[in-house]
Symmetry: C2
Subunit: 412 residues, 2 copies
């Protein structure tokens, strides 16, 4: 295997003449590149990209299949901020889920996934040279989005040995006059951490004190294990005017491919972020908005088909988490890890080898035929770790770990 | 009617404290705001937003309805640059449609509509302070996209009396050391102009000479009337390394709501623009990519269901154009106009009144219950004009013009 050609294909050597500063600064997310590389490897099994194995449930797809045969408007643009019915369902959902009262007309818009909401939100409040505090390791796309806005990511390491806990004092020390925002992904990709109420309230206090925005990515907010305590940043009333919340239907309803989510923020921020939404998307896909509407209509917090689907999903992923942890326990010579409390990722530390994360991911891909994501894609303290997703089936997880065990025995 | 409240709601009075420079500079596109305002007006008929009256055809929706019941992957992320099969179909389509040979792997990616391709392309090559030449009047979103990239739109008026012809000498004179790109929307929104081969080749020559990018929005490239000559910028071989082409399935297959299109450019540009695509979208909606795939598979340039659909669509829109022109001919006291050669817009000049375009659009909305788009949303020489779309049914067009005639008789 020629490492150089691999590095080249993941964007390490680029011709940047004529390319804007903002885009030149961004490196391609390893999360997206690994599956592309993996296409060359026949029979590779994936612990890589964060896609649950489940398909979009029938109570959603059935509505769309039928609508496609009779509702012509489903193929047409919606209003730019989203279908009014969907916006009202989202407000209703936020009411029972997060205990907050939201004006559907002015305090939210429907986006092309949480990603577009995050990118638009960051572009709305971050100027060239502004600093944005990002816990590290962190989801690579947030770093890209800050760089795209020509902001400066300021990394504040999480406290790994305390279960990837937020370092509130670290945040405080990192704040300068240029700090504009703090990004909080909770439950967290890639660590699986769920931040404590205490630490989140301390971060909120800091944001108030220092006049910062809190940019909250809560795409996994339904996926908490062991009845672990969970506080949504949207539920902190004091944060209301400083919060840019990004939410998604992707994980909760296994709808990653539909590209639909929403932003919740003050009407002032929504008004401005809609300019970005207009310039990039016009509107979220109408068909996907209809799917999201069907999903929410089937979910009431009690025993709707949506509720049962989510309950079963959380249960199944909980079992996969158990399995993944059990398999990692057998690989103590290679990895140590913090038990994930939410989401479907674990971010083990490489302990048994001096191999760096990219080299390990590449070797696991080509030599063990297992797709993983190297930790160096998740900010500076990601190096020395690797991200495994346990969204795949138990068979896939077992096959992947069988291969890793075999590979480790031969190679380490 | 309180004009001030209307202006306020379309973003004229904003609290911009804490909002990034790039977003502060953008004003909300009147194209998107008018339909939002129009929701207050019961029974308003629309000559506003550019949506053809036709639904997405059954040869597309049927494939999706079926796929939703059996293909689980349709609900999941695709590879970030798009479904490989779709990319190959697009390359095939470009071969027969534009006579060009395109590497499906490296020279295109599937975007959330042409809009995302344009926004990503502009963000990729335009830096703060860079100048971008934009013919005016021009589609408002291109102006927003340049402002979003912190570029400076430099407006070069089209030659209205010559059928909204490109002013090549005007472009030449407007070029400075800071000029990075020229935006060409052809067929053109909002004027309905189709630029001549001669003028486009002259623009291409200028781009080569002055080392500029040509950003081509060709969302209406199938929609040319009277067998008018049409040259795609993608078909000019010399431009290949300087072209950022944005194409769409939205208009050709009446798929505006699906949000799927693509960028065609050199592999160098595609590699960089994919960073923006990753940060904003991850991937285009998979379900929409499948719809685009079904559309292209039904289209071969001869007599596939796709070809017949497009042929009928062009025919029907041609008749609507005739009707619209006939109705405008009866309003000579209010409007003069250039006959549209492509797309489904006409951009009449207001001749019979000193009313400005926003005031006219607002009065037509509230007093005549007709939605139109004020010309001032299309760059500096848009003022004094109004955009009518003839994507609606003949009944809608007739109703709208009946109302405008009646309104004009009473008010002018």
């Amino acid at each position: 295997m020629d490492d150089r050609s691999v590095y080249k294909s993941i964007g390490r050597e680029e011709d940047l003449k004529g390319i804007s500063r903002r885009v030149s600064q961004i490196s391609v997310s390893a999360i997206k590149q690994m599956p592309v590389l993996a296409r060359e490897v026949a029979g590779a099994v994936s612990l890589g990209q964060g896609i649950p194995s489940f398909g979009t449930p029938a109570f959603i797809t059935k509505v769309i299949s039928e609508a496609l045969t009779k509702d012509e408007w489903i193929g047409k643009y919606s209003l730019q901020p989203g279908l009014p019915e969907l916006k009202h369902e989202i407000a209703r959902y936020l009411r029972w889920k997060k205990g907050i009262s939201v004006d559907a007309e002015t305090e939210l818009f429907v986006s092309c996934g949480a990603m577009e909401a995050l990118a638009a939100g960051i572009a709305t409040v971050v100027d060239r040279g502004d600093e944005v505090l990002i816990p590290t390791p962190n989801y690579a796309s947030h770093i890209e989005q800050v760089l795209f806005a020509e902001g400066i990511p300021v990394f504040v390491p999480l406290l790994e040995e305390q279960g990837w806990r937020l370092d509130v004092e670290g945040f405080r020390k990192a704040i300068t006059k240029k700090t504009r925002a703090i990004i909080i992904c909770n439950p967290m990709n890639p660590t699986g951490a769920v931040f404590s109420k205490e630490d989140l309230l301390a971060v909120a206090q800091l944001a108030l004190e220092k006049d910062l925005f809190v940019i909250a990515d809560e795409a996994y907010d339904f996926l908490i294990y062991d009845n672990h305590e969970y506080l949504s940043c949207a539920s902190i009333p004091e944060l209301k005017d400083r919060l840019i919340g990004a939410f998604s239907f992707s994980k909760m309803y296994c709808m990653t491919g539909w590209r639909v989510g929403f932003m919740y923020a003050s009407s002032k921020i929504i008004n401005q972020a809609l300019k970005v939404h207009d310039a990039f998307a016009i509107c979220a896909p109408t068909v996907s908005q209809c799917a999201a509407l069907a999903a929410l209509r089937a979910t009431n917090g009690k025993d709707g088909p949506g509720d049962n689907f989510i309950k079963n999903l959380v249960h199944a992923l909980g079992q996969r988490r158990e399995l993944t942890c059990a398999r990692l326990d057998r690989l103590k010579s290679l990895f140590s890890y913090q038990i994930p409390r939410g989401a479907y990722y674990v971010f083990p530390k490489i302990v048994g080898s001096k191999i760096n994360s990219m080299e390990l991911a590449i070797r696991l891909l080509y030599e063990a035929r297992v797709i993983s994501i190297p930790g160096n894609g998740f900010g500076p303290s990601g190096e020395g770790h690797i991200r495994f997703s346990f969204g795949g089936t138990e068979d896939e997880i077992n096959t992947a770990f069988d291969r890793i065990e075999e590979w480790a025995q031969i190679n380490l």
